[in-house]
Symmetry: C2
């Protein structure tokens, strides 16, 4: 049993005493305790691939920031690597893939019918160890990249401002794009089922590059595969975070998931008008607010909380916490949420 199950109740739409709060990228560079672990290792990937270390940094924000949920420390790019496309994480630069998938021939070089238990054992083991370490204090979130975002990295081979190679593929080789997206989707379903089996209480799909596609393309190449994942995981607490896809919010609201993540550019009232009350909204304070004074953080956080017109909310930032944010400022944000008295909504 989970002692603090506020996050799970808000996900399900059950009654809550206050809004639950956690932060995307809460396990990471903002914490000196994280940097201490990281400095002992050869690199980012050693941390991701060593369950004991991944567990340690996953639990840190629960101990240090008192968040209402833990999220497993990992990387969305473990999936393409498991599919046969290894990557490196280059300091100050980001991910880099030696090989990319831009042709049928390159696609054929990917490993077919992979055993995710074998290839991604370290994530499942980290989840198990984290569950033990958390000892039921708060729920544990597992995650994966959404298929479109994973395709972006597999085609581009690195980060990009426009991901024009990936978007080019949709026009020049749509059948190949669909084949690759389907392969990613199948692996991701296996991977997420494995995470649930290893103890994840809830899941989140990150579609970081949703916003670079126009509406129709995002429906065809993005949401179609996300919905497959949702349907393959019935009775699961699943959050879909399609960053920048404000134009597709009506369709996102129709997905078979429980919660919709909002970025800081999405207006909460507008999102609620497009996403019915049968789903929870998660977000969406501008992460730059945490650069501000204590007063500013309190005021902006309260302004956001007041814009909520029901209990179906999980509080988060609208993007991962930026690396140079002072953890004390994060605590101001968290405490403001915890001290906020939730209204007696007529519709709650």
């Amino acid at each position: 049993m989970i002692q603090n199950d506020l996050f799970l109740r808000a996900h399900r739409g059950d009654s809550i005493e206050r809004y639950p709060v956690w932060l995307m990228r809460q396990a990471g560079r903002i914490l000196p305790e994280y940097r201490a672990v990281r400095s002992k290792l050869s690199g980012f990937k050693e941390l991701v691939e060593t369950p004991a270390f991944a567990t340690e940094v996953t639990v840190q924000p629960v101990d240090l920031l008192d968040v209402d949920a833990a999220i497993i420390f990992s990387d969305i790019l473990v999936v393409p690597e498991a599919m046969g496309l290894p990557y490196q994480m280059i300091e100050q630069k980001g991910p880099w893939f030696e090989n990319t998938i831009r042709s049928q021939e390159q696609f054929a070089l990917l490993d077919d019918h992979i055993d995710v238990q074998d290839r991604l054992w370290y994530v499942f083991e980290a989840l198990k160890q984290t569950k033990t370490a958390l000892n039921g204090r708060v729920p544990l979130i597992g995650f994966a990249g959404a298929p479109w975002t994973i395709l972006c990295y597999m085609v581009e081979g690195k980060g990009s401002k426009t991901f024009s190679e990936s978007r080019k593929l949709l026009y020049t080789q749509p059948a190949l794009a669909h084949r690759l997206l389907q392969r990613i989707t199948d692996v991701t379903i296996d991977y997420l089922k494995g995470q649930l089996a290893a103890g994840a209480d809830a899941l989140q799909l990150f579609d970081s590059w949703a916003g670079i596609l126009g509406h129709d393309q995002y429906v065809e190449f993005g949401l179609h595969y996300i919905e497959q994942i949702c349907q393959a995981l019935p009775n699961t607490l699943l959050t879909v975070f399609s960053k920048g896809a404000v134009a597709s919010l009506p369709e996102i609201g129709e997905l078979s998931c429980t919660t919709i993540g909002l970025d800081w550019n999405m207006s909460v009232p507008l999102a609620r008008s497009l996403v019915l009350e049968n789903k929870t909204l998660q977000g969406n304070l501008d992460p730059c607010v945490l650069y501000g004074s204590t007063d500013l953080i309190e005021n902006e956080t309260k302004k956001m909380l007041k814009s909520f017109k029901s209990q179906r909310h999980i509080v988060n930032l609208g993007h991962g916490v930026y690396p140079d944010i002072d953890p004390e400022k994060v605590k101001v944000f968290i405490n403001t949420v915890k001290n906020y008295e939730i209204s007696n909504f007529d519709n709650a």
Copy 2:
């Protein structure tokens, strides 16, 4: 007199026989003739600062692609440089400023009351020479960066994925941000008036980083200053292109300008429902369509054209043309627009 004034008529909402078409970044790297000029020079800035060369590459797409408007070859960063913040354009990397504005002290180091005629003489001279070279064939567009986008570069000092330093300033030093935005606005008004005096037939404001601000901040720190510029330039054909600001389209539609630029993520019918028929819409084909086959380009272009429900449209891409696009594909796009028979709209 302008021989082909289709662009001007569509801007004003006058009757047109067919939709006018041009491309953002049409004068540039896609053309071998541009690269030939560029290769003779020390760098990008020599091209920007030498009127004869800027004129030559501005006219190239009129000669080679037969577009319905020319846009002066220049850079939005000439404005911060004129204000006392010089930049370099580093190959493969983009702009870089040695100094940035993040404090009142740094702001105080900017040059006050600058004479734009003196500092930006080379842009005005390029406009004059281009007018002569065009000899009235098509209209000439002048442009500037919108104040928020210029602030982003002055604060960040280079490109960024998040522009978190700039967004931080809005929370931590809003008064300084407003002071800087006002200064940029005042210089930009002088600069654009100078461009009109030098022969520009129409103007465009590029707000490339509009989309990284939430709605309320974009209204306060973005649109407020754009509206000042619009009001300072009455009876001017002015296009505002706020890339990514789909959530602010209702307010953008209220600006005192004649035309609204749409990026490729913005749905034309949705945009039209938010921007009344008293304004022209410009855009918005996904630039990645031009990677496709002739058939694909024709079909996607026609699909866009069919979505227009009035004559108040100027055709363009939804972003600058990408540097590795084949100019022959650009011609397919342009010819498809030119051969498209405009409907007899009831409301036209």
